[in-house]
Symmetry: C2
Subunit: 199 residues, 2 copies
């Protein structure tokens, strides 16, 4: 069976919440997950939507909902002091490692998300992304080169464009075969889709 595609932005609280659940959910139904970090800023250019925290009423509600949803799912969460952030550094780090070791890339993504959403480390700084990676035994010098490598920059850009071409406009955004699901609050529908093969 095709892997499930899990699109997320490293700066997205709901993407983080989804990241803590997607692999176990897929595994329950014998499926693998392909993690695809993207840049929500690029989707906003297509949709014309503003970043969530800047929206009157909705922005304030969202901050409350991030924390309540984390409690609801039993996931550790501390609202980052700098939010949102540009997520090129962690996303490029992921794609660089993903070329040679997808399992390790996923491990790095989880460590980066925890660094940002639990330990308040601003992973938009390449130096902070490198430090998180170094703690996993990843070669910091090689990774620093990768973050600035035009080929890796191009890989991230291509993944963002492919996501948008498939209809991705938010985070997390999941495809089960060709069926799109937006939001960690659609994981109950994803589960039923996996169990029943559609509904």
């Amino acid at each position: 069976m095709n892997p499930i595609d899990f699109y997320f932005d490293f700066s997205s609280p709901y993407g983080y919440l989804g990241s803590t659940r997607i692999d176990a959910l897929a595994e329950k139904y014998g499926r693998q997950v392909s993690w695809r970090p993207i840049l929500l800023g690029a989707t906003f250019k297509v949709t014309g939507l503003p970043p969530l925290p800047t929206v009157p009423l909705k922005g304030d509600y969202s901050k409350r909902d991030f924390e309540r949803s984390a409690r609801f799912y039993g996931v550790p969460y501390n609202q980052p002091s700098v939010f949102p952030i540009a997520s090129q550094a962690p996303a490029r780090a992921f794609y660089w490692l993903d070329q040679t070791d997808p399992a390790k890339a996923k491990q790095l993504a989880k460590a980066l998300l925890k660094a940002y959403f639990v330990d308040d480390i601003n992973i938009s700084n390449p130096s902070d992304t490198l430090r998180v990676a170094a703690n996993l035994g990843i070669d910091a010098a090689a990774l620093e080169g990768a973050i600035n490598d035009p080929a890796i920059k191009g890989k991230l850009k291509a993944e963002v464009e492919r996501g948008i071409a498939r209809g991705v406009f938010g985070s997390p955004f999941v495809f089960v075969d060709d069926e799109p699901f937006w939001g960690v609050d659609r994981f109950d529908q994803i589960e039923r889709w996996l169990r029943e093969g559609g509904f």
Copy 2:
């Protein structure tokens, strides 16, 4: 205990889905529900957000999600051929009846939502709202007067403004005491909140 406040727009598919579930959910925990129709157009002026169907990528996804979510919840749904609609007529009809008979007003709201989201009747037309009301034995001439009554217009306007002042920016939007929940996909959180008195 305070009633649960259930804000919705008669033109909102997710509001309709929520309307089929909110009373049973509240009753399970010994709570009443106060239905409060609003006009999303007024909230869009505050948030600066565009109507969902007009948003690139998100609009197309949403239509798919309306129908899939309806199947998920087991609720009959047919995408209305005119969508979205201005919902002043059904909302004013509701508030007029709500002054004297809240139970009947809720019955009318359910009939109007079914007319729009199942039978493809464009309830933005006062004549169609009147016809739905007449089927419930409601005096059509009195209701027609009410829809054009400045006092009823003012009542709807005041409810919209009160909702916005409390933070309402979408539909459905539910308050359990002072805790806000946006979306039918937060009903699982509402249930836990009711069961545990917060979490």
